[in-house]
Symmetry: D3
Subunit: 261 residues, 6 copies
């Protein structure tokens, strides 16, 4: 089974980013089952990090292109590397068979199987309302206790790992005592790769879902079960299915073609 | 009061598109109150028409840029020219005061004020599920009777106007008798500019909402009432509010800058 | 376009009431678009103010009569002058084409278009549960954060305008911080005519909907869009549509006719 | 235990109406437990029958007055004699301890205890949407399968009893097979007094709730259990609780007082 | 009318238990209407008290057997003596006509008829989530304000009656002020037989439902109204209805039969 | 990783049952990842098959005992071998760390990740309403399109495999065309072991979830992710956590101990 982790931000441009990609790949491989091959790629163009719906949308065009390339390369599953699942539905519209895992969806589904009510602990308030909608769209809104933010930007999470954990535990505790949550989900992929879930579970006594880890395991599970997204749900764009354009790329009328017209 | 209609597809490239823009502008101006100035613009890059979520996402980056330009130019309100409201929330994140009307949202709100249950009649099945989500997000899912499609591509709606009306009336009648709808909404802007709502009302005996018309009137209403979107709801992306980038454009790390690094 | 504001309480009986009506008319005219003619009328019989469902019901019979008269007089729209929308559905049952705007419905619809979650700030606790039901009936219950009361009777709101604003800001702040509201609605028409929404927005940083202002603008919008309530939703009472009585008034078997029988 | 059945229409004006009242009283007494005393009264003014929200509202002012009189007379419970429960909440606002049973509420609560999904079979389409709201307000909307009408006016139900039963069985069967109902409720008091529920149960094999009968038994149950409506839910109108008016009647500013001012 | 109270725990084994059964029987008889005969029975095997779903399930097999025996003995109604309604649906599957009252269901239905929002005050946190599900299943989840526990085991409730009342009043007050409840339900049958509801109502000013009392009155009401559970809702197990086994007992393949095979 | 499949019915008593267990074990092992060890066990006492809630409850006591034994034996996960998930919550109350997978829960979660709306196709009508509740409890009721039954008893599914497939395809097609489902779930474990999902997918063009296969893959995923049920959600029964009884078995007061007392 071949799984690829697709980063919707162009982080491989500098050395630091390339090291981070290698670090994440190693972590993902440590999660994988023996027969699972894991790779990692990033887009050429996109936001530096995602803390708003605008940045989510900025990431989608390049990510869809890269996802299509991954399907052509024969990957069985791809993980969309942002907790907000930007463009998950569009990727499913244009791909055919490759399993596409959204960490947001996978994370809350796992949380829903662990208890009666879960809370998401995320980075900034700017993403709290969008995450409420993500949960509604995933279909498990009835089990959502709350979405809470630690008000720390994505790119600063790792600067003070201890401070980050302290804030995560603090908001997690409020979720349990004030919002009646019994299960927590880390609502940001960079939080996932900090490897803090186990520490939080120890301090809080509830399951804490690491979105990176659960995404890999859900990808393995769905591929293993032989199921993928329904093409009756995520219909191929009509211009493609009717043959009016040759490829997904053909759906965009680009600026430069304007000059040539 | 100055209102601009923003087309999320690059239709002004050829003569036919420029004529269609002029035609739409004239219609919009015929809807407007005496003191309202209406203009129309289109993006430089985007999909030819929108019949899938993927095409919605493709339209967003250029549309947000254009919306920001319209706010700088002093427009009081802008209408997002696609019924699916692509990027409506992102536009509200980056704009400050300009009223931004999504025809999907405006249309279903008006429908909800007309009766107990409404149905949306749209172009193709590929957009039926996304429209269900649009209604949920708008907050009036409780009043939605159904979303039905006439299975005619956007770009072919006007080719056979009589045939299109016949199909619209047919699906509208099913919505009333089978789904218990008492109000209808045309779920596509190109349907709106066909001027078929009155004809449908005559044949079906229920209000039929023209999304273009209602968007203009809602824009006038909200500007007139002095209210716009809440910046506590649609928070400015943190990198912007914290001054880490200078402008919305700075949120995208572009491909070409890669070569220079 | 002709719009009439219909007061469901008999306030024109004394000088003070007549002055208040004139004051409100002037305010409404200041909201109106250039081509809009606004008038104001009150019922001959009804409650002094409305702070309970019982008082709502007491206002309905006379108000429906007056609304029918207004439709006969050729008004394009009427605004029902109480935030609780008493008898809105009944008025729609007996009128044919006149747009009938309920400020409760119009207010929460506008609020729903401004953000993710809104709160209503109203006068007394006695009306809090009924306003929850109004929002459910309007169809936007999913976006309701809370209904809060300042515990000040309607007729005393204007006695201490500064004190009223202070209480409104206080409850509004609680709505934002404790109930996660991002938009506020003033849940009482007398609050609307105090002209406090702008002051509240300045202090709280969120849109505050003035129900009087939004009702007028929504009336203009719906008339301008050429739509009114669905007669398939609000069916004419069968005794009227079947011709068993000649007029709405004929639906009530009055006490005095008893003596004559 | 003393229970009174309050008719919200003035039917005792003629002989036929008085005989019908006696007939209903006899039926109600046949339902009652040994120690229960049952009486019947009607209002002096109100609609001839109730088939619209407008007629519901017309019935409320006189009915509330009569209910207050019944509480003063020492009745333990009163049954509001219309399935739509017109003014039920207002009656609870102004009464103190008397149990007030709404047949709509009582009927759907009993239905909810009989199965997973119930349907209401009522008289005319004009009351179908209002009954949906009644069920939502009662709190058991989740169990509602459908509301169906036999399209027969209230006052004609008894003219062709066999025809009425035939239509009731027909719609009931559709509710079971098409809407997946397992329990039925007769959505009109006049249907209740036709004594058709047993016949329907025999033909359809599901419980059929007679709203008159269940109202009487629920009245006995609540009085017997020593509970009544919560005055924290149905607050006394502030003008009354603060002593600004002396009685409920004082809440209405009547037309005639206008002439004297 | 003959009603039996069925204890799902084997409490008659010792003198103390037998005295408690007699005490409860006397209380139930004091609630009953003149013509109602009340009896009490307990199972031979089951949990000592019920504070978890596991204990609920342990009680079901013996309780179903005993319920079937009660139906054969001609009882018109049976009350399932545990607030969690363990096995209520299964009992309805195998019985034919006997009314089976679940105190959980009966209690929340009565609460729903008293106000807008109710809270359940129960014994231990271990049963809080299950009671949320009970309310959802009963169909009145929309009216649930909260479920709160006093954290006192069932078997210790009566040891310190004053202390228990103090805790009940304390949690009840929080339900009213923090959760906006206007009606309370005692979520445990042993609480019901402590006779504390009246005392709580006096201190808190809201209706407090005693589940034992309301169960008896609802049993009388449903038997009196001639309705019972729908056999279209609670279908007889197919092996029974198709004659593949002779009796409910035949549905269990017992361990001892294993040794004989 | 060690996973055990726990059959809640005593099928190993005769040769045919033992062969069926071996067959199922082989199938489960064919699903498993390389490093996963799979075993199968059955209870000593329980129903022959499960087609009613009563039979679900009959299966629980022995199944909980066996699950506890499996946890003591060191299994990482156990699969509850009935689609209705009988006693899933109780098993989680008494176990500590072992992942317990309910096929009902696992199946609908996977379905929810494949599309917008799913339908369950199950054996008999007697289990349709309970499956609606299972989905609500799992938290994904919003995505449920319908539950349909082929009206074939569990024990006869395999007698006519072709006939069973025909009926499954027929109901599946109705779910897609009439109920707007885009994904199907087989709502019975015996259906799962017929290996018909692939055939159905070929004929219907939508994902069809095999509950046995997905349960195994979800078990691997959750164990691999290091998460299990929250003990704050599924609290240990108080008598156990407070040390009042020594073991889960001690929670049942058995019949035989009665004779010895």
């Amino acid at each position: 089974m071949k799984i690829v982790y697709v980063l919707p931000g162009p982080i491989s441009r500098n050395e630091q980013g390339r090291l981070e990609m290698e670090r994440r790949l190693e972590i993902l491989r440590s999660y994988a089952a023996p027969a699972t091959i894991v790779d990692i790629v990033d887009v050429e163009e996109g936001p530096a990090s995602i803390e708003s719906l605008y940045e989510e949308y900025l990431s989608i065009p390049s990510t869809v292109d890269l996802m299509l390339e991954m399907e052509r390369k024969g990957y069985d599953a791809a993980i969309l590397g942002c907790y907000g699942d930007p463009g998950l539905d569009a990727i499913r519209e244009v791909t055919e068979k490759m399993v596409v895992v959204g960490p947001g969806e996978a994370g809350v589904m796992a949380a829903a199987m662990c208890g009666y009510r879960f809370s998401i602990i995320t980075v900034t308030n700017s993403i709290v309302n969008p995450l409420h909608h993500l949960v509604e769209k995933a279909g498990v809104g009835k089990k959502l206790a709350s979405v809470r933010a630690i008000e720390t930007p994505v790119l600063e999470l790792a600067n003070d790992r201890e401070g980050t954990i302290r804030k995560l535990v603090e908001e997690g505790r409020k979720a349990i005592t004030e919002d009646r949550a019994d299960t927590l989900v880390l609502g940001c992929m960079s939080m996932g790769f900090l490897n803090v879930a186990e520490e939080m579970t120890k301090q809080l006594g509830v399951p804490v879902i690491n979105p990176g880890k659960i995404s890999l395991k859900m990808a393995e599970a769905l591929v293993g079960a032989g199921i993928s997204h329904s093409k009756v749900a995520y219909l191929t764009p009509p211009k493609l299915s009717l043959g009016k354009v040759n490829s997904s790329a053909g759906l965009l009328v680009r600026k430069e073609s304007s000059t040539s017209s």
